[in-house]
């Protein structure tokens, strides 16, 4: 592949990996431009929105090149953002040829997630900690721990990405609520609302919320509003899942 094309592909891939991992738009733009400049193609133009990377280069006697990549709304892979950030620094220092950088980006793109047991455990620990912060007792925290574990067991072992995001959040909220009702009835944990609220925290859209605000602060209104809308939708779905179970419970079993 010609040098120029390799640079182009590398820049496109860097943008794609960053965006899919949940980076802010300005970071994607900056990183792509920095890599392009380091490889001597400053005339590269980029246009990034929350679910797509567009770039083109050429003119002034050079061949025109263009690329459009669709990137589904993703996020939550901060390890990849860190790795690309590191790589772009090294490229800036002239440590990698474009082909090497491309290979490294491919590696980053396929880096495995953390083992499932770690994520499940973290969900439990996180739920318990936040249940305690909301004012729950240690018993409440223990119940939230179990609910948090169950939530990620449900996501990672049962659903495995086969449901849409909306269905996942509604059912996730419902699973947590059913389980906390059950545990509170068994006498593990006394405050239903603390237990449920703690166990729902792993579902809260922290990445979308934070990035949405950052994008809007940077003037990337389109991406920012899409991300904030995503965050609002997730919260609404959660509330729906929790609410449906609570409504059914108080109607048929009695609260």
């Amino acid at each position: 592949m010609a040098e120029q094309e390799q640079v182009f592909e590398t820049v496109a891939l860097a943008g794609e990996v960053l965006l899919a991992s949940g980076a802010e738009i300005s970071r994607v733009t900056d990183t792509m431009e920095r890599i392009a400049r380091a490889y001597g193609c400053p005339e590269l133009d980029t246009f990034i929105v929350s679910n797509g990377v567009l770039l083109s280069s050429g003119g002034n006697g050079r061949r025109y090149q263009a690329k459009v990549r669709h990137v589904p709304l993703g996020g939550g892979r901060l390890d990849r953002i860190d790795a690309v950030n590191q790589l772009s620094r090294e490229i800036g220092l002239g440590l990698h040829t474009p082909a090497e950088a491309y290979a490294r980006l491919k590696e980053i793109q396929t880096a495995p997630p953390r083992p499932r047991w770690q994520q499940i455990l973290a969900s439990g620990v996180g739920s318990a900690a936040f249940c305690y912060l909301f004012g729950g007792t240690l018993w409440d925290a223990a119940a939230a721990f179990l609910c948090g574990l169950a939530l990620y067991v449900y996501f990672l072992l049962l659903v495995r990405g086969r449901l849409s995001k909306i269905a996942m959040n509604i059912s996730g909220g419902a699973v947590v609520t059913v389980l906390s009702l059950f545990l509170v009835h068994l006498g593990i944990g006394a405050n239903l609302e603390m237990v449920t609220a703690g166990a729902v925290v792993p579902l809260l859209p922290g990445v979308a919320f934070t990035n949405g605000i950052r994008d809007i602060a940077d003037g990337d209104y389109i991406s920012g509003s899409v991300r904030l809308l995503d965050a609002i939708l997730v919260v609404a779905c959660l509330a729906l899942g929790v609410g449906a179970v609570m409504a059914a419970y108080s109607r048929w079993i009695g609260g």
């Binding site: 390890d79 973290a122 900690a129 925290v201 922290g206 934070t210």
Partner: protein, 148 residues
């Protein structure tokens, strides 16, 4: 006093747990935990005197400053600390209570809790916006002094 220390520790532990869920590399865990714990401590210290909203504002601002400082010092994206460190401050209980009141037809209660939750979120937004406006050179100068 016990509750204060225990809650701060819980905030730190919870933050590390969420850092793991977001696949933060292990070498940043300690700083993530510190960021989350510091944010919650600021919230606890200012809540009695200033009320909940200003306390959330200051806590979010603290999380943001620590994140930006850490990013410069450890040469990595601030997002890593910001996204995990902000989690303890997200009004999860308010969201739950709003949904609960809503399905119980307690419309008025749902409205008032929902509005209070929204105000918390807006306080966080304002703090993030303000923190992002601080010039980056302040953080690099501070980080430079720190490492010397």
């Amino acid at each position: 006093m016990f509750r204060l220390i225990a809650e701060t520790v819980a905030a730190g532990v919870g933050t590390v747990a969420f850092a793991l869920i977001f696949h933060v590399p292990t070498r940043y865990f300690a700083r993530c935990g510190f960021t989350g714990a510091a944010g919650w401590l600021v919230y606890l210290l200012f809540r009695p005197g200033l009320g909940s909203l200003p306390a959330i504002f200051l806590a979010t601002f603290a999380v943001l400053c620590i994140s930006r400082f850490s990013a410069v010092q450890l040469r990595c994206p601030a997002t890593i600390f910001l996204i995990s460190g902000i989690f303890p401050l997200v009004p999860g209980l308010g969201i739950y209570q709003t949904a609960y009141a809503f399905v119980n037809n307690a419309t008025q209660e749902a409205g008032s809790i929902g509005f209070a939750t929204l105000k918390t979120a807006i306080a966080m937004v304002l703090a993030i916006l303000l923190g992002l406006e601080l010039p980056g050179s302040w953080f690099s100068r501070l980080a430079g002094r720190w490492s010397r």
